[in-house]
Subunit: 232 residues, 2 copies
């Protein structure tokens, strides 16, 4: 049974890494001792070891040990044997390319759909959608496909930002960008504001956290979803 | 002889489409009657006809006629015969994919390097760089490559935005994103603020316009470039 959290961000302003999510993670990873961390998104180009060490220190607060996937000889084995999995944020293109380079996209999808508890934050949430076509990240490497894990029947736009009416900047707003996505794609998109996350349990997907989310569908005015709304 | 303008934006706040660039365009397109417009970037999903009509109305102010590349049976012929070329902004992925779909990337590069006057704004500037790896756009379609025209030996980040020290948003700043680019790429990047542009004449590239630009190189602290600085 699917058991996952897809979060807009790992960190909310004024609080430590994952701090706002720790109560949720206690429940998500209940009865699990060791969590497999996948550091491939490398925020700021951080090394796999350094990124994994940060996660180790943080999840120690809820008495979980952490192994980095790069510590294993065979990443497929690591995924198959994982008690729980966390894919952290960073650059979605780097993450996606590395998952394809190691040929683990489908394996990761399979174990998550079969019930290995999964946490994704930011880029790690993006890959839970149908494609990475609604990431905010810069395309700093070229992945062999934009197709993602597709554990939910929509796409996610993490760190969703409302338009700033006082802005004089002529770059597109987030809403404009997602509307452009729908000129070329049919996949619904959930704009997840920081502090919000999607809780997946079996066939249920529920919006949780601090803020409403914004649902964009092709050809339909976007709507606001309240916290605790069931998404599918 | 290369004769081109790569501009951060088509439109500065409080002013009409291309208005701030019209004096420059009079000189760039001097002695040219008809400009070939390439509307492939489709901002907001606008149609080729509608986008081209906007450009026709605007360039009529400096007595130029405009043809859309989609009005020709053969886009390669259209490029070969063009007196001047303008590639407008929109989505860089859509633009790049369409250039590859019509197999005109190399032809466009060749005529520009051979002296057909070229104006690129926003996405149209991005494709002047080595790759589209420093676009701000959402990857709403999958192009067969991120390789761009490479008419300059660097990449461009248009609509460059300085970090906002008052922001509580946890998404990456533009500078963070470009530094991440340099974890994986060696190509220098010029952050072009709105209202600024690069004037290319033969082997000379000069920063022009309203604002300084920011030069990012791998492993080196970024520096500010003053207006009228020679870039290569």
């Amino acid at each position: 049974m699917l058991n996952a959290i897809l979060a807009s961000t790992s960190t909310v302003h004024g609080s430590d890494f994952l701090e706002y999510l720790l109560p949720e993670l206690k429940e998500l990873f209940k009865d699990k001792q060791n969590i497999l961390f996948i550091p491939y998104a490398r925020p700021g180009g951080i090394s796999y070891n350094e990124y994994t060490n940060n996660v180790k220190m943080t999840l120690a607060k809820i008495n979980k040990s952490v192994s980095g996937i790069h510590e294993f000889d065979d990443p497929v084995n690591a995924i198959d044997q994982a008690e729980g999995i966390f894919v952290g944020g960073g650059n979605t293109f780097v993450l996606t390319k590395t998952l394809y380079d190691f040929d683990i996209v489908n394996r990761l999808k399979d174990v998550i759909l079969n019930g290995t508890p999964y946490l994704g934050t930011s880029a790690g949430s993006n890959i839970g959608g149908q494609t990475i076509g609604t990431t905010n990240d810069m395309p700093i490497v070229y992945p062999p496909s934009f197709k993602a894990l597709g554990i939910v029947p929509f796409n996610i736009n993490p760190h969703y930002l409302d338009p700033d009416p006082s802005s004089t900047h002529m770059g597109e707003t987030r809403e404009t960008r997602i509307n452009e996505f729908h000129e070329f794609n049919d996949i619904p998109v959930i704009g997840l504001r920081e502090g919000s996350f999607i809780r997946l349990k079996g066939l249920k997907a529920t919006l949780k956290g601090r803020k409403r989310a914004r649902l964009f569908r092709k050809g339909i005015e976007p709507i606001e979803l309240e916290v605790n709304t069931s998404l599918v």
